[in-house]
Amino acid sequence: MHSKRLKKIEPKQFYNLMCLFFYFRDRKEWADLEPVPQDDGPNPVVKIAYSEKFTDVFDMFRALLKNDEKSERAFALTAEAIELNAANYTVWHYRRVLLQALDKDLREEMKYITAIIEDQPKNYQVWHHRRMVVEWLNDPSEELQFVAEILSQDAKNYHAWQHRQWVMQEYKLWDGELEYVEELLEEDVRNNSAWNQRHFVISHTRGYSDSAILEREVQYTLKQIKKAPHNESAWNYLNGILQDGGLSSYPGLLEQVTELQDTCSSPYLTAFLVDLYEDALETNSSSYDQQETLNKALELCKLLAEEKDTIRREYWNYVSRSLQNTYGSGDPVASSSDPPPPSSSQQPDTEPSDP
């Protein structure tokens, strides 16, 4: 659940430590406070050797916490502590308590937060802190531009996208987002976050049950696929938006996709055709010859398992067996590793009922 891994110490941190630092314990304005050393119990789990500055700052921090001190110097110290370890969530909590107790300027705080995020854009605590301050200010006016900035450095930053989605939903800021998503997809058509955002925006605005919207999306996606056929996100998106209506009944889709086969081969395209044929079989569509469709689907599964996507051969063999068992006329095919043939794509409920 923690996506953070221990990083090598950045050059900047080393410089910070090596520089002449006026320790808090030596400053006369701090003389009244007794520093509280880290207490790991009578026999510490492990011996710890702190750097001098780290020890100094966090000993003081613990002293402030112990006295529940709410002062300007405490507020200043939280910034020092955050600089040394921005993942320490207790320091952020304390900073929030102080922001309120001291009635600090929240716009100044936003500038501070911006600087921290630009330096450490994957830190959970600072993003959550930003959200709290935006809520306190009740002012989202800078947020979309700020997040766009962060995304320009890393277009898939999960925290940035969460924040963006929260701002948009909370303050109903949907205008212009589809255009923004298209810009990102122009830059990198394989950006899965951008495809997800596309789905997010449309779901919350006009929706996919509007057939004009659905058609626009299908054509847009096919166009992106033509540019880069080996693109998991685009294929997942196409599949996802057509799930309700069904792949095989969407007018012209089979033709358009088979046409693509000539110019751009990709296991995703083949997989999509299997899904489409499966849908035709499941809905017993009159536009398709059932036997021929089954044969085509099985042929493609074999192609994927044996040539095009061998790393997932178990999956393709499963699909093949499921199709044969459900729609074929011969004896059931089984494998000891398969679940029982599904009547739908749900797995069977194997749980006993409540006592």
Partner: protein, 346 residues
Amino acid sequence: GTQVKDVVIKPEAPNTLLLDKHADYIAAYGSKKDDYEYTLSEYLRMSGIYWGLTVMDLMGQLSRMNREEIIEFIKSCQHDCGGISASTGHDPHLLYTLSAVQILSLYDSINVIDVDKVVDYVKGLQQEDGSFAGDKWGEIDTRFSFCAVATLALLGKLDVINMDKAVGFVLSCMNFDGGFGCRPGSESHAGQIYCCTGFLSITGQLHQVNADLLGWWLCERQLPSGGLNGRPEKLPDVCYSWWVLASLKIIGRIHWIDKAKLRSFILACQDEETGGFADRPGDMVDPFHTLFGVAGLSLLGDEQIKPVNPVFCMPEDVLQRIGLQPDFQPSNRGKLSSSTNDWHTV
């Protein structure tokens, strides 16, 4: 173009399992020269201890860790509100509350803390819409839904929360690709998927998952190197060997991964000199990736490692001792349905 984001495993990368080295690495962790980094991770110390103890237990080496000190440490981390913090002097949080309960379960010493207060703390974090906050500051994430039910299941107190709403919230995080994100609308991500499938297993709601669709999305995480990524177009990382693999195990589709290739990727992430696993071959090791590398290998069937439970990421024998196992469900402990078990009889 068709360029795939992936790593290339060098021919000289480790290809045998170096369990003794990993045990030595964990046993010595924190007492070595990398002390500054150990200090930096104080804010997650409780989870760090859980990672270390669990991997040692999986390797049959739990006795090398200092049980009494750890138990005293945990006692000192429970706050008046009942919640447990990452370390002394830190604020309580659901993440570290779960880690503490997991550790005490490993040590069969759950009663050294005030269990009723822990239960109250967890219950108090449930929101109107069924979601769970991580702490009093209100960050919402499906990770916390998982932490809440996992904690309560280990304590036999699942009945204290509003189950229907909790389930409703998690299901509202299901996306068009069958995956789950951290909040409704968030991009599908393997870590979040692990939390949500684990949650649905504990609450007896796995039938709500589209197992074929999600299983497909999950097995698509496997790259040519054999490693697994967390979402499309990202590099592989050994911790996803856990998040993805455990999710597949929970929904009964683990055989959709090429096991041999994954195993060789995981083994390549070992450091032959220091012991431990890194996120990918050649990087720096840490206890987090060490646990998930070893746990992943256990799920793949390595017989040198104890069987690991895919929902809790704890040794199966611990969960059996507590009374939490597939097809055996005392009512307050919820339902652990690991859906693989029945199929060998088909």
